[in-house]
C-alpha cells in the first residue's frame, strides 16, 4: 500500500491511519491531504489514529504540519482516537501538540468540526 485513502464526509475529509506508516507514506499523505482540501473545498480534516501504536517525533511533526497546512487552506484539523499510552509517551517525549485539536473518537471529532463551522459562518 503506497497511499493512505482519504474519504469525503460532507464538508470534511476523513483519514484513517491503519498501518505502521513508513516515513515516505506519511509525507505522501501530507501532500495528498493538502490537494484534497483544495479540490474538495473541505472545511475540516479528521485524522483517526486509533490504530496507531506509537506516535514518534516524525509522525508528531507530520500531524502538526497537516494542521498548519489545512489552517492555511481554511480548514480545521482534528486528530481523533489517540490511545492513552500514546498520549503519555508524547508528553514525555516533549512533542508540542498545542496547535492540534483532539477528540476521543470520529463522532466527537465531527461534532467539534461542525461546531467550528457554525461559529464561522
Amino acid at each position: 500500500m503506497d497511499r493512505i485513502p482519504i474519504l469525503r464526509m460532507g464538508a470534511f475529509l476523513l483519514v484513517t491511519i491503519q498501518v505502521d506508516m513508513h516515513d515516505r507514506l506519511a509525507e505522501t499523505l501530507q501532500e495528498d491531504l493538502a490537494e484534497r482540501v483544495v479540490s474538495d473545498e473541505a472545511r475540516g480534516v479528521l485524522i483517526d489514529i486509533s490504530s496507531l501504536e506509537i506516535v514518534d517525533s516524525f509522525i508528531g511533526r507530520m500531524l502538526g504540519r497537516i494542521a498548519m497546512i489545512s489552517a492555511t487552506l481554511d480548514a480545521r484539523t482534528v486528530v481523533v482516537g489517540m490511545r492513552p499510552a500514546v498520549a503519555i509517551t508524547l508528553v514525555e517525549l516533549g512533542i508540542p501538540l498545542e496547535g492540534i485539536l483532539t477528540a476521543l473518537d470520529v463522532e466527537k471529532g465531527m461534532e467539534m468540526l461542525e461546531k467550528s463551522l457554525d461559529q464561522w459562518d
Partner: protein, 138 residues
C-alpha cells in the same frame, strides 16, 4: 546478569524502521511490559533507528534480553559508521537538530527509558544503547 543476544536487525532503509518497531514490540510483550512501557520503548526505538538511518547513513540494531534475579530487561544498541556527533551535549538538548526534525529524538528517548548511553567518534560513528527494565516481582 545474563545477556541473551536476541537478534541483529539492519537499518538501511525506511522499511527497516517498521521492522525495528515490530521486533521491539514483540519482545516487550514477551517480557510482560505493560502498554505504557511498550509504547515508550517502541517510540524510543523508532527515534533512534531513524537517527541511525538519516544521520548515521545506516547501521544496525542489536537486540538483547537481559536477565537478572527478579527482573528482566530489553536492551537495544544502535550502531552506525557515520560521521559521528561533534558535540553530544548539544545534540542531547531538546529542540536541537541539524536536520529538519523536532530535535527531540535523543533527548526525548532518554526520558522514555531507564538507561541511556551514547558514545560517538567523529568520522567513525555513533552508538546509542537504551534499556528498559521490568520487575518480575509484582
Amino acid at each position: 546478569m545474563s545477556v541473551e543476544q536476541y537478534e541483529i536487525l539492519p537499518i538501511t532503509a525506511e522499511e527497516d524502521l517498521v521492522r525495528v518497531r515490530r521486533a521491539t514490540r514483540v519482545l516487550c510483550i514477551k517480557l510482560g511490559f505493560n502498554l505504557v512501557e511498550q509504547t515508550k520503548m517502541i517510540t524510543a526505538a523508532s527515534e533512534l533507528a531513524r537517527n541511525t538511518l538519516v544521520f548515521g547513513g545506516g547501521g544496525e540494531v542489536q537486540i538483547q534480553v537481559l536477565l537478572e534475579p527478579g527482573c528482566a530487561g530489553l536492551r537495544l544498541i544502535f550502531e552506525d559508521n557515520g560521521p559521528g556527533i561533534p558535540n553530544i551535549e548539544l545534540a542531547m538538548k531538546d529542540g536541537y537538530t541539524t536536520g529538519n526534525g523536532l530535535g527531540l529524538g535523543l533527548s526525548g528517548s532518554k526520558r522514555l527509558v531507564n538507561e541511556f548511553d551514547i558514545s560517538s567518534q567523529i568520522g567513525k560513528g555513533t552508538r546509542v544503547s537504551i534499556t528498559r527494565w521490568k520487575s518480575n516481582i509484582t
